[in-house]
């Protein structure tokens, strides 16, 4: 097997037709040198000796991916602590009522971080929150729905930002903030990470029952 894999590596490196021929012929030889009943030799198909045999193969070039198990619990990435000269993990939160402005601004922040070589760990969005504005009627006690407002939130997670770069970064962000968009920069905590998941009331009920 070692011999076969080393032959394949040589093919990868040099990738010439002659070697392919040599490889296929060597493979054929290997097959024939094993104890195979001669009836099986007739099943050697002719095109395997073609120089272009296997020319479209690419699976062996891809990295080996293990099949993903669905039951894997999503682990939180380790939150780095702040050191003397660098911040730890910061969350830049952009929120507002106008989705185009919020998204464009968060994309601007992301591109700006890439340009300044600040490491962006993650860039995610929280679910949209719908607020109904209810107005009291003039002549009655009933409230009617005046309007529906949707609040959008986008997060850009930054890690290891140098403390000397921070004032410049903040100033550019503040000066380019569009109207109607709120900017908030806070430290990333485990509670922030857990707030992204949906609450599971049945599981919590069962755990409470177990503990009681």
């Amino acid at each position: 097997m070692n011999y076969l894999t080393s032959i394949k590596k040589v093919i990868l490196l040099q990738n010439t037709r002659a070697l392919m021929c040599a490889a296929s012929s060597v493979q054929n030889e290997l097959l024939t040198t094993q104890k195979v009943p001669w009836g099986a030799l007739l099943t050697n198909r002719q095109y395997r000796s073609m120089p272009t045999h296997g020319i479209g193969k690419y699976r062996h070039l891809l990295p080996k991916t293990l099949p993903k198990k669905k039951k894997d619990k999503i682990q939180m990435k380790q939150i780095k602590a702040a050191s003397d000269t660098e911040f730890g993990v910061l969350n830049v939160c952009v929120s507002g009522y106008d989705m185009t402005l919020v998204e464009h601004y968060s994309q601007y922040i992301h591109n700006f971080c890439n340009h300044l070589d600040i490491k962006v760990v993650e860039s995610y969005a929280l679910p949209t929150k719908t607020t109904e504005v209810m107005v009291m009627q003039d002549q009655g006690t009933k409230m009617y729905v005046d309007g529906i407002l949707k609040t959008y939130e986008r997060f850009v997670q930054i890690s290891e930002m140098k403390a000397t770069l921070c004032p410049i970064f903040m100033e550019v962000l503040l000066k380019n903030q569009p109207e109607g968009v709120q900017l908030c920069v806070k430290e990333h905590t485990e509670a922030d990470f857990q707030s992204r998941f949906k609450a599971r009331p049945e599981l919590e009920g069962l755990i409470a029952k177990m503990n009681n």
């Binding site: 003397d84 000269t85 403390a163 000397t164 770069l165 100033e171 550019v172 503040l174 000066k175």
Partner: protein
């Protein structure tokens, strides 16, 4: 220690030609990173002939977005038109069309109201009525003025709402009155950022947030020959950036302070000072 400071300190190294003096300033700044450790840092060279000052570059951020160029206006108009033409009808517009169709069906002779499905209470309030009510509400809303024109002079902080303004103060330096960024001399035992905060405290009622512990700029000047004593050759000023939280009027004398844009700075500051200050003030 050199590596993390690469970004800011490159300009400083270009400015300072003397070799040993920089270490004093550097040590001050490195300890201000943890602002809760205001311990006495080891300022090695006690006999430095340069006095240190901390100054604050207080900025009022732009309140509204800038006006668009003619090209940008045209393009935004074109994009809006294209989006409108490509979009689907919304719920409200569908309702408008349905109401109009129902109206036209009502006018016909062989109209049977029992055939209508899902009539409900849509007859009471049609979509057109809703739209009219909304239009009325919009007319009652008066947005604030975008530009106050030239009525406001340099000392008001509500001047150009689309640009960021910097606060300048007329201070006594030596014997003359000079326009400067607010600065105050450093006292032993405090960090340079605290010096800058003190400089800001001299102007009462101003709430500002400092953007960081690292200074953004530097300026050094020598005293004139007659004032130069044995100990002091000149002064070094370190600038810190701060952002004003709430707009308010400074209760100072009329001519002693000004809010200026970046291109107006040259009317107020001396050329040498202006050259250093221009490096860290962004014209965004």
């Amino acid at each position: 220690m050199a590596a993390p400071f690469r970004c800011i300190y490159r300009p400083l190294w270009r400015v300072i030609t003397g070799s040993g003096r920089l270490t004093v300033g550097m040590r001050n700044i490195s300890f201000t990173e943890n602002h809760f450790s205001a311990t006495n840092h080891k300022t090695a060279s006690v006999g430095s002939p340069w006095t240190l000052h901390g100054a604050v570059c207080l900025q009022r951020l732009p309140v509204i977005s800038q006006d668009r160029n003619p090209i940008e206006e045209e393009f935004s108009g074109l994009m809006q038109q294209m989006e409108l033409e490509r979009s689907l009808l919304s719920d409200h517009e569908l309702r408008l069309l349905e109401d109009a169709a129902r109206m036209s069906r009502k006018q016909e002779e062989d109209y049977d109201s029992d055939e209508e499905e899902d009539y409900g209470d849509k007859e009471i309030v049609t979509a057109q009525d809703l739209e009219d009510a909304w239009e009325q509400k919009l007319k009652q809303f008066h947005p604030a003025q975008r530009s106050n024109g030239d009525k406001l002079d340099v000392s008001s902080s509500e001047r150009c709402l689309a640009d960021s303004l910097v606060l300048l103060i007329k201070q006594d330096v030596g014997s003359q009155k000079v326009w400067l960024l607010p600065q105050v001399q450093w006292k032993a035992g405090e960090t340079l950022r605290q010096t800058a905060e003190r400089a800001l405290a001299h102007l009462p009622d101003v709430k500002a947030t400092f953007l960081g512990n690292a200074p953004c700029g530097f300026y050094k000047y020598k005293y004139p020959k007659d004032i130069q004593k044995e100990g002091s050759v000149g002064a070094k000023v370190f600038f810190f950036k701060a952002v004003m939280c709430s707009p308010n009027h400074l209760p100072l004398e009329k001519n002693s302070f000004a809010w200026v844009k970046k291109d107006e700075l040259k009317d107020f500051l001396t050329p040498e000072y202006l050259k250093q200050v221009n490096r860290f003030i962004m014209s965004l």
